[in-house]
């Protein structure tokens, strides 16, 4: 029995994902070397691997992660389903207790000290929440489409860890849970919800970004004009997608009667009108809210969103990050040869801004390879999720996908100056054991489930 189990594991395990995982870990460690290397230290492997250095410590985290991944693969796949709520509950209690146990690190109350190590429980809440959502959404007869109740329960499951993480002053990590709406979208939440959410974020960001440039004698600002254009475009797209003749006729509500057609169309016009009015309302209220703040508070919001150049504060990070990446050129400056990173011009370069090291030392080629590896991982996760025989596996797979996607999108986008500065780690690259273990749990639990798909089909 044990023999067949092992053989089936080797045969059924998704080795492509494992390969990408190992490749990213390897590149990640090289980047940590580049970011943590102190000028003038020896460059040989043994010195870099010495436990007294951060590079050596990261090697420990990588080793233990692979070990943990292996252990997870050897576990019975059914325990995740069985203990999903228990794990979730335990995690919530841990998150609740964290601020009281934590010691303050740069204003964050998310780190618990165990011996000489510090752990960040928030990093482990991701897989726990994913398991709970998968468990709930795979209950018999669960349907998300058309069920407000189920949508609210799902959102609540997400909201608990979010709220607790916000209490730890880790807003960036809390925002990650919004990514789970991608999973909900796949599971039947109307696309318009997702669309509305993305549109709302776009209005606020665009509106604030251009609010300084006044036009028409101060009556309007450029932000108003861009937001108005966005609303027009969005409404146009919605009209095309939902109110086309064929779209209505293909919809499940359509009964074939002419009256039904008109009723559906009128109802959809009404929703789109509501969307447009809501959009205008949101933009105006956001604008009014910001205008009522003192000027330095407005600036602070803009700087936090990465919307304003601030060479001495947050903006400084982004400028130095861009210089680091831009100076890499096609082939980069070579392993341990980056000057921006080596001489500490980029703040937080071994954690949130780790991608700078890739850009500077490995150049366009290395950075593009990393991006393609992440793309491969994400697309593979989609494929693996879709081939799950159970809703539990599929939902969990989509949770994994959503979380990874959000991290890659925000972290690299931030370093490239395309996204607001939100402090979240880049999976497998950023320094630290907690995030690496957290991502490994997330990924390997899914790989374990995927390896069991054949048995599940029997």
């Amino acid at each position: 029995m044990a023999v067949t189990k092992d053989r089936s594991l080797i045969h059924s395990l998704d080795w492509l994902t494992i390969f990408v995982y190992v490749a990213l870990l390897g590149l990640g460690w090289m980047s940590i070397c580049g970011a943590c290397y102190e000028y003038g230290e020896p460059k040989d492997f043994l010195s870099l691997a010495s436990f007294s250095t951060r590079t050596g410590m990261q090697l420990v985290w990588i080793g233990t992660s692979i070990l943990l991944g292996g252990v997870i693969l050897l576990l019975d796949d059914r325990i995740f389903d069985t203990f999903a709520y228990l794990i979730y509950g335990a995690m919530l209690i841990l998150l609740l207790a964290t601020p009281f146990l934590a010691h303050d690190i740069k204003g964050s109350l998310s780190w618990i000290k165990i011996g000489s190590f510090s752990l960040q429980p928030a990093e482990f809440a991701k897989f726990a929440t994913s398991l709970a959502l998968a468990k709930f959404m795979s209950t018999y007869g669960f349907k998300l489409e058309g069920s407000w109740k189920n949508l609210i329960i799902c959102s609540t499951l997400m909201l608990f860890p979010m709220a607790l993480i916000v209490m730890q002053k880790e807003t960036g990590s809390a925002l990650v849970y919004f990514s789970l709406f991608l999973m909900l979208y796949r599971e039947g939440m109307p696309g318009s919800f997702l669309f509305t959410g993305i549109a709302a974020v776009a209005y606020v960001v665009v509106g604030l970004r251009f609010s300084e440039e006044e036009v028409l004698g101060g009556l309007l600002n450029m932000g108003d004009i861009y937001v108005a254009l966005l609303i027009l475009v969005f409404v146009g797209v919605l009209l095309y997608v939902y109110c086309r003749r064929s779209a209505i006729m293909n919809s499940s509500e359509y009964t074939g009667a002419a009256g039904s057609f008109i009723a559906i169309r009128q109802r959809r016009y009404f929703y789109i009108l509501l969307f447009a009015l809501g959009s205008i309302g949101l933009h105006l209220s956001a604008g009014t809210l910001v205008n009522h703040l003192a000027e330095h508070q407005q600036k602070r919001i803009q700087v936090l969103l990465g919307l304003r150049d601030d060479p001495s504060g947050v903006g400084y990070n982004v400028i130095q990050a861009k210089i680091a990446i831009g100076s890499g050129g096609l082939e980069g400056k070579g392993f341990l040869n980056g000057t921006q990173t080596k001489l500490k011009y980029v703040p937080e370069q071994e954690t949130d801004f780790i991608f700078c090291t890739v850009g500077e030392e490995q150049g366009f080629i290395g950075s593009a390879i990393v991006l393609i590896l992440f793309m491969t991982l994400l697309l593979r996760l989609l494929y693996l999720s879709e081939r799950q025989p159970t809703a539990f596996g599929r939902v969990y797979g989509y949770c994994v996908f959503s979380i990874f996607f959000f991290h890659v999108l925000i972290n690299i986008g931030m370093v490239l100056g395309l996204m607001p500065v939100i402090g979240i780690p880049l999976p497998f690259f950023s320094y630290g054991g907690s995030s690496l273990w957290g991502f490994t749990f997330l990924l390997f639990i899914f790989l374990r489930m995927d390896a069991a798909r054949i048995r599940m089909q029997w």
Binding site: G329, T339, L343, Y345, G359, F364, L371, L379
Partner: protein, 615 residues
């Protein structure tokens, strides 16, 4: 459980992933490949070029005796961030500075406007050019002052108190220097006077640089690529001067207490053997931190010790100039050696009188030079300027005269390799046309024939006239640098310049100058070892007459030509002749005879009182 109708949404999400990755790759492309801008910004962040200063060339005299060398000096540097908590009073006492000075200096360092390169993490100059002694005293206490460091620099030092005007000095570059030559950066040193200035390019060497890596807090982390792109400084070239230190010492000793100049030239090479300008100063006092104060003190001295009289002092040459007149008249055929002019205690004509001392009359040329007869040369010039068969107008005659003078090196800078040389004054026709509104003749300007009137020469020009006579008709532009390490000297200083007068006539004048020593005005210059030729000069001026002399020896194959000019020294024979004779003896014999040494001591102790004169 299954919802296959929603599986299309996996493609929507997949498309979103691909779209985002494509956007990010395009963004990477635009950041990394479309311009060098970020690369340059990264370089300017991280690279700091540190200049390495080359050692300035050393200077020796013609016999290899060291004159100028480099001495270590120390700057005290401070790192503001590290010096917190230092006992300020203790520091001030250790450095011998006041609390007030300390506060002012610290404020200057922190003033970003005055000190644009300021960073609290990098060493800033606190105090410059401490001597080795001051430094070693401070070094013992340095441990008490964290944040204070010392940095080695080199300053010029001099072996003796001699030749200050020739050697010149070195100072910080001014904005004009930086503008003129982009080699210089603020704070660099540049030769400001003397050969330090005229041979700046050879002496300064080539600065090296090292590329250092600087971290975000301005701290130096090491050398870029282990120094692969560093450039070593190339030391400056050593100079060998034509100056003979012993001769220079003697000259300066003889001129003590007198104003004036002694210039000696080796006729065959144009090399200047000594160049004394009195009063002088001790160049050793002009280094280090006291330089500014000392310089100011000297520049306020009414005797103008900073002025190099040998090339900047303009004097009437007096009778020494008569030799040039004799040459001109002979060449122009105005006189022959046999032509005799009358002189009855001077030149008397049409109511004009130029006085002369008592001697036989009429005299031919050689005794006229020997006795320095004024009348003879007045007649000569009168006949030259009045000769309408040879020269259509007086202006033409004057132009011809001027051309002779210019060819002998008068009226323009000779081109000595020292800065600030004056050109002197040789009047031309236009000058007199303007001064006398076109109405003038030989009589009007007669005093130029005896080296008075408008004519002004530098002592160097007088010495060069003597060297030209010693060479019988040519000279090499006088210069003080004999050789440059690994480099030829300028061809200007190796090329013969011929005058417009034939050597035959020079020989006649040489005979006249020999006569002056052997039975004329310069008889005290006579020595038993070799035949000396000389010519005195007594230049009238508002005060007491200037005493001048020029002479060369030996008569054949001359080794030295000397000009002595002692302001308000009286007769040429009073100071000029004996001083010139001592200089020639020292150089030719290599020492002074015991009697000459006594004589030298007497003259060294003679002082002329200048107090009464407005200068």
């Amino acid at each position: 459980m299954e919802n296959p109708h929603l599986s299309y949404r996996s493609y929507v999400l997949g498309a979103a992933v691909v779209l985002i990755i494509v956007i990010y790759v395009l963004r990477l492309f635009s950041l990394q490949l479309s311009s060098d801008d970020y690369k340059l910004r990264a370089d300017s962040n991280a690279f700091m070029r540190r200049i390495q200063f080359p050692a300035r060339g050393a200077i020796t005299d013609r016999n290899g005796k060291l004159l100028v060398y480099n001495q270590p000096a120390y700057d005290i540097m401070v790192v503001m961030k590290e010096q917190v908590g230092v006992d300020t009073m203790d520091l001030c006492n250790s450095l011998g500075i006041t609390r007030d000075w300390y506060d002012r200096r610290m404020a200057e360092i922190k003033d970003k406007y005055r000190n644009p390169g300021y960073s609290p993490n990098t060493p800033q100059l606190f105090m410059s050019q401490l001597s080795v002694k001051e430094f070693s005293q401070f070094q013992e206490k340095l441990f008490r002052f964290p944040g204070f460091y010392t940095q080695k620099r080199s300053i010029r030092q001099y072996t003796g108190p001699y030749a200050a005007h020739i050697l010149g000095d070195v100072g910080e570059v001014n904005p004009a220097d930086i503008e003129a030559d982009d080699y210089y950066r603020s704070g660099d040193y540049i030769g400001t006077q003397g050969i330090e200035r005229s041979y700046e390019r050879q002496l300064r060497g080539v600065k090296g640089s090292e590329i250092l890596l600087r971290d975000v807090q301005g701290r130096i982390k090491g050398r870029y690529q282990d120094g692969r792109f560093d450039q070593q400084p190339i030391p400056g070239k050593n100079l060998t001067l034509s100056i003979d230190l012993d001769l220079q010492k003697l000259g300066e000793r003889l001129m003590q207490g007198k104003l004036g100049s002694i210039v000696a030239i080796e006729p065959s090479t144009g090399e200047i053997l000594c160049m004394v300008s009195s009063p002088s100063f001790d160049p050793r006092q002009m280094v280090g931190r006291q330089r500014g104060k000392k310089h100011q003190e000297l520049s306020r001295d009414p005797m103008k010790p900073l002025l190099n009289r040998a090339i900047m002092g303009l004097f009437p040459p007096g009778s020494t100039f008569k030799t040039s007149q004799a040459l001109t008249f002979l060449q122009e055929g105005i006189i022959t050696p046999q032509t005799a002019y009358p002189c009855s205690h001077g030149f008397h004509f049409k109511g004009l009188t130029v006085g002369c001392h008592g001697h036989g009359s009429p005299l031919p040329l050689i005794p006229a030079i020997g006795t320095s007869c004024n009348g003879y040369f007045c007649w000569g010039l009168y006949h030259m300027l009045g000769n309408r068969t040879k020269y259509p107008t007086v202006q033409d005659a004057m132009t011809c005269w001027k051309n002779h003078m210019v060819a002998m090196g008068f009226g323009y800078q000779l081109g000595v390799d020292l800065p600030g040389e004056k050109r002197g004054l040789i009047p031309n026709a236009a000058y007199y046309d303007k001064a006398y509104k076109g109405s003038w003749n030989g009589l009007t300007v007669i005093s130029i024939s005896i080296g008075q009137g408008e004519v002004l020469l530098t002592p160097l020009q007088i010495a060069n006239l003597c060297a030209t006579i010693a060479n019988r008709g040519w000279f090499i532009t006088p210069h003080v640098v004999k050789a440059i390490q690994d480099e030829e000297i300028d061809s200007l200083y190796t090329t013969r310049r011929h005058t417009l007068v034939s050597p035959v006539h020079y020989q006649t004048v040489v005979e006249g100058m020999q006569r002056a020593v052997e039975g004329g005005t310069c008889h005290s210059a006579r020595v038993p070892w070799y035949i000396t030729c000389g010519k005195t000069g007594t230049a009238q001026n508002r005060g007491h007459d200037h005493s001048a002399f020029m002479g060369f020896a030996p008569k054949d194959n001359p080794k030295i030509a000397v000009a002595v000019y002692v302001e308000n020294g009286g007769w040429g024979a009073t100071y000029g002749v004996p001083l010139g004779a001592l200089i020639m003896e020292q150089y030719i014999n290599g020492h002074l005879s015991p009697e000459s040494e006594k004589k030298a001591e007497i003259f060294a102790n003679k002082t002329i009182n200048y107090g009464g004169y407005e200068r």
